[in-house]
Symmetry: C2
């Protein structure tokens, strides 16, 4: 028996309309690529989104066409989210850190018709322009006065494009399963793989993201997304903020500690979101300058495991750094680690084991742990295996995939190794490919890294497995020392012995000036493995 | 271009599964119809829901079959919500206040196969049993020991039915547009009309209900739903609580001030929900006994306009009574009046004009105001007209309808007259059929009632229009005086003159001992119109 409710689609357009009828005066603040602070309201944004929608239609952009964008977090990229999606086209957010070859690959693979980008990325775009096979025209996200040498033949500006367009648009209805956005994963091997988000998936996730157990953002609060709009829609925050009436502060290109600190304080930001390396950078800035965060209340960290040192460092500023876990393939939210009341009221020390977990699954995200030989393992907090997921905002197929995206029974294998306990707490043990297989046992590279980074002389750390004649693999710890430190390997080894099982103590420690970072700020272990290929462990 | 996300249905089953994996220990407390307090956890409920699902399948209940229930808010009816919906059958919640004729009508119209009911309603069911054309069997929501004279030929008990069944069930996937529940509106004219809720509609509404701008219920909190489970799924709260990990306290048959007070205090309830008559009853109990509410923080009021006196009365106990607006046809939530920060921080007096409005529309609830001649009116806070709505949890068609449910362009006419202001605040001026049309102008019966009830001698009030030779209609105010009061009509008229426009001052005031209430606790103006038919206004 069918339900007899209205057949109304879950389009992201409705989030935009909801904000316009409810939160007209809510501010949106941008540190522009051109330098100054730009400030306007949701009502202003509404008019510019309509202008852009009219401009895109005039350009000939049709339902389902792809529009590419390579940009910082700014009000202009924000406008593109709602204008491109609103007309039924697909916004392909391109990660500039992919490098020229991959950037050209993804733009061609997605068959982008138009390309928008910040002036910062004009050199990248100019370099790959001859290789782009589908792009009909390019627009720099600025005005004529600031175009400078970012222009060129057939290159327009965003402001000129929308200047004379009407400030209203008759937003169409269409199927909620239609695509609204695309994002390619920056895989460490093979070509990047495209994830195509439907309106439905992002809308359901937006609702879920605002649950009290997730971001719980509310009207009157302010969010600064450090996580880039070019990567998984800035963790969906533009949609979440518009649904909830939250002021957004876009940091533009200034993601350094000082730049972020100025905005966090000046705009009275309540909530921020970013990867651990960003949090670490901000923490080091605070420690170096002795400055205090006086307004920030909470920060969401995701993308890789959150080191304990970051939680403790921010706790001294009264800021709770909360871990989340997700993937490009999950739109991206899988868990947000909001502690239940009986754990939240514990001391920082007592609650730390739970804070270091990824958290509990959001509603409608099914998770299972599968052993290497294919058995479903219990949720007992100790059985670890491959983490597989299923749900309405999880990828069903990559775009033009080269192989099967899902398991035979329809689950997505995350590539993570994890445990889940009886209360639903997920703990990511390691990336499946980063686990160190030693003497028939698995050792987590993340556990060793998190222990190492607790040492006051360690600025950052990464662990890879290297060949061992007897044990198959053993851990090598690669450390970036803090400025001015000359801490010795045996000091660090002694430190680790107090914190780790014997099997996890690295057989060697190497020092480097910096760790190679991938397109989303994660440490590139593939690069480290190349660098330390053939490394000989001490006997 | 289609999105490429997983095709996973939004089933209410997933809410249940989410609670079981995340909030196992959360309590569910019931004041049983048998008298004692029953107390168990979500994990316990999970086992009993599985037992009931197995029992229903063994009975032969198939996907899409209707199962009727006439019951108080108890853990047993709660279990039916998830077991019946989880197997893909449809729970038809029957309002016992419909009266025998309508109860038989709706059970036959819905074609219920099985009927479950509390012992309280055995006389009603026994009386209508011969008229029921589709019911194959009946179960009283109790155990053998407490069946008493509620039993009879072919009547079983709930506890016996589920006693020996397995505590696990393999919950099936099916189309999210399939029906999960039915509820008939208690229309004042014609036959009751059936609304068939889909899983999709209730799931999306559940997400929306938990927004910070709506109920914002969170883990660790406690809700007591006074609003009955037999009416629009207790405003969806069983689903909302299970998604958020909120302790539920079911009041069973004791909805009087004392009964509610005991549970609110004893179970440390944070949040409650009910119609204004329930709030009024509790307030009068508090005033009579001098008792204080020490824990309750917030109450949601809906179903009819919330009188200012109730807001003020509870504010003295530190309780914020918040208005919502919805309908059976809207699953039921349309608005929840959560004030934005700049209004919430005002004094009670200064914020009162906003507290008396219905609030702002939830995301995905489209609203429009239509003039009697069919023009769409502006959202300017003054243009009033017929309120029409559209959205994914709004009725598309009644069950086996006798006429068109929607307008020609696909909107549902709510039967309310309303204004919407530029910030999205909805104000229900009146029910379209209750508006008093006087000399070419409309006067709101609700405005007069709300003004009258502010007088300390007025316990309750209702206004109807009566024929006037010159003005077509004029208002008649019908008042229930407080115990012991003998306040005179001219005193009340003077009181109203300070608060209302001249055109709204009633031409006459009549006193009655009580007002006739309908099946959902609303004043039955049709009864008042009958009682005062031919009423002659003073010259």
């Amino acid at each position: 028996m069918q339900g007899l409710m209205m057949d109304r689609p879950l389009l992201t357009t409705e989030i935009f309309k909801h904000a316009l009828r409810t939160y007209r005066g809510t501010e949106i603040v941008t540190r522009m690529v051109e330098g100054p602070i730009h400030r306007y309201t949701v009502a202003d944004a509404g008019e510019r989104v309509a202008k852009l929608a009219n401009a895109l239609v005039d350009l000939g952009v049709k339902h389902g066409d792809r529009v590419g964008v390579i940009g910082w977090n700014t009000h202009r990229q924000f406008e593109m989210y709602f204008a491109v999606g609103g007309i039924g086209a697909v916004l392909h957010t391109v990660n500039p850190r992919l490098g020229p070859q991959n950037a050209a690959y993804v733009i061609n693979h997605a068959e982008d018709d138009w390309l928008f980008y910040d002036a910062t990325f004009a050199p990248l775009v100019n370099a790959i322009a001859p290789a782009l096979t589908t792009v009909k025209g390019r627009f720099v996200l600025t005005d004529e006065a600031h175009l400078g040498d970012a222009g060129g033949d057939g290159v327009g500006t965003y402001e000129e494009l929308i200047a004379d367009k009407p400030t209203t648009f008759n937003w169409p209805d269409f199927d909620e399963n239609d695509a609204v956005a695309m994002c390619y994963t920056s895989g460490t091997t093979g070509n990047p793989k495209g994830v195509v988000y439907s309106h439905r998936a992002l809308v359901i996730q937006t609702f879920a993201s605002l649950l009290p157990s997730a971001l719980a953002l509310k009207e009157g609060e302010t969010l600064l997304p450090v996580v880039p709009m070019f990567h998984v829609n800035a963790w969906n925050t533009p949609y979440s903020c518009m649904m909830a009436g939250v002021k957004q502060v876009f940091p533009g290109p200034r993601l350094d500690g000082e730049g972020l600190y100025e905005l966090l304080e000046g705009e009275k930001v309540d909530f921020s979101a970013g990867v651990p390396t960003v949090w670490l950078g901000l923490l080091q800035y605070l420690q170096k300058t002795g400055k205090k965060l006086t307004h920030l209340r909470k920060g969401l960290s995701g993308g890789s495991a959150l080191p304990e040192a970051i939680i403790r460092g921010f706790a001294e500023h009264g800021v709770e750094i909360q871990q989340g876990w997700g993937m490009t393939e999950m739109s991206p939210l899988g868990t947000v680690n909001t502690l239940p009341p009986h754990l939240a009221e514990l001391s920082l020390d007592d609650s730390m084991p739970y804070r270091l977990k990824a958290g509990r699954a959001m509603p409608y995200v099914d998770m299972r742990i599968v052993s290497p030989d294919g058995h479903i393992l219990p949720h007992d907090g100790t059985s670890d295996g491959h983490l597989q997921v299923r749900g309405p905002w999880i990828v069903g197929s990559y775009y033009k995939p080269e192989s099967e995206t899902l398991t035979a029974d329809g689950w997505f294998d995350t590539g993570d190794v994890a445990t889940i306990d009886a209360d639903g707490f997920l703990e990511i043990t390691d990336r499946a490919k980063d686990v160190i297989k030693t003497g028939g046992e698995w050792v987590s590279s993340i556990d060793i890294e998190n222990a190492a980074i607790l040492h006051p002389d360690v600025a950052n750390a990464a662990v890879i497995g290297v060949h061992h004649p007897k044990w198959q693999e053993r851990p090598l710890l690669i450390v970036v020392r803090c400025d001015g430190s000359d801490v010795a390997p045996d000091v660090l080894t002694d430190f680790l012995k107090q914190r780790l099982d014997k099997i996890a103590i690295p057989d060697a420690i190497e020092f480097v000036d910096e760790l190679p970072l991938g397109a989303t700020g994660k440490v590139l272990k593939t690069e480290l493995r190349k660098k330390f290929a053939g490394y000989e462990l001490p006997a």
